[in-house]
Symmetry: C2
């Protein structure tokens, strides 16, 4: 056993996509030197419960994806550290649906900031955002994470837009994206059409969780 005192913060990197402004956003809180939302680990909560509580103190949201990201351990990553105290940060990463997410502005101001224009953040939090951003990009390429934050019915154009905002415009052209995804068979055409802006009515699709099962837990690139 050691006399080392350890503080564990649980921090949640909350990403969202604003489809109208075409922007990937991350939630930060505080004023002059913003930081990621976080709480000191409470004695009775699991890490995932604590991460969820961090999220619940900052936003109200129904649909979300949450998973553990990485544990940042320093030493020297936190100003509270001394020779007898280490501050670890167990980071989680979340993706929430932008339109339905309500920011809780008390007791501390929170705001969405675009990932490409991230301000200077407290401590190593910018590094944690970058790590989360890389994970988000990877997950988008081989997991159905996108469907957890899209509306239940969506057009292929909306799905493509979500991918483009996160991965950049050059990740794939639309017709390639469309044909690869449709071939995999986990998007169901509902038969319904919708008019979004100009152009022909677009088909509404639904993600078929059951048809995705064979791909579950398999690295698979579907874009």
């Amino acid at each position: 056993m050691t006399a080392l005192q350890i503080t564990v913060d649980v921090v949640t990197v909350i990403f969202s996509v604003d489809p109208e402004a075409n922007r990937l956003l991350v939630l930060v809180c505080g004023g002059e030197l913003p930081r990621l939302p976080g709480l000191v680990l409470a004695e009775e909560l699991s890490l995932a419960e604590q991460a969820y509580q961090v999220l619940a103190t900052k936003v109200q949201v129904e649909h979300l994806y949450l998973e553990q990201l990485y544990t940042f351990g320093g030493p020297g990553r936190d100003e509270r550290e001394t020779s007898q105290r280490r501050c670890l940060c167990v980071a989680y990463f979340a993706l929430v649906q932008y339109q339905e997410t309500v920011l809780l502005l008390e007791p501390q101001p929170v705001q969405w900031v675009p990932v490409p224009q991230l301000p200077v953040l407290w401590g190593d939090h910018a590094q944690i955002v970058q790590y989360g951003y890389q994970r988000l990009r990877n997950k988008l390429e081989y997991s159905p994470i996108a469907f957890q934050v899209l509306p239940e019915l969506f057009t292929l154009g909306e799905l493509y837009q979500l991918y483009t905002i996160i991965l950049g415009e050059d990740f794939s052209d639309y017709s390639n994206f469309r044909s690869r995804l449709l071939k995999l068979g986990f998007l169901r055409d509902t038969g319904q059409k919708v008019c979004r802006g100009a152009g022909r009515p677009a088909s509404l699709y639904r993600f078929d969780q059951h048809a995705f099962l064979p791909y579950q837990d398999k690295p698979m690139v579907f874009i």
Copy 2:
């Protein structure tokens, strides 16, 4: 701040592949109720340094792959826990080359055990092994982790065998595996041949790190 006392163990799940016995192995230590090698986090070490030190107290090895796996937090995962004490476990996962790995049998006995015949382990360590095994399988499918533990020159048969031992016999047939990998262009035929057992001499290949660069950090399934 909280009065909660936190102990952080760093544990390393060390995998290896015994090509002669065709087995995937994991290193455990101790006697009646074996456990994964681990140490309480020391005040001056980073998490990765601590994980490496865990490994270095149990084995001597030159070629290895090491990365952070997951942080297991409970509560209730460790018998040392009380209402005022939590024990977190930051788990790392390593893959080492079997032939060159020397087990350090003092001060505690250590042994390789086949993953499919894992004995009952201390606490949640069996769960940590399973988590690591899943990560190992995934990494094998989209990262060059195999080449870090194969000899510098290897036959495609040896490479296929490594994959088969970890992923199971039905993951792919040999000719499919061979043609997919060769097409990607990061295996270099050295022009040298070797006789291993019966049959025609087999070509020796080398992993070309430079040719792999375009695939780096991209989820990509090459098997």
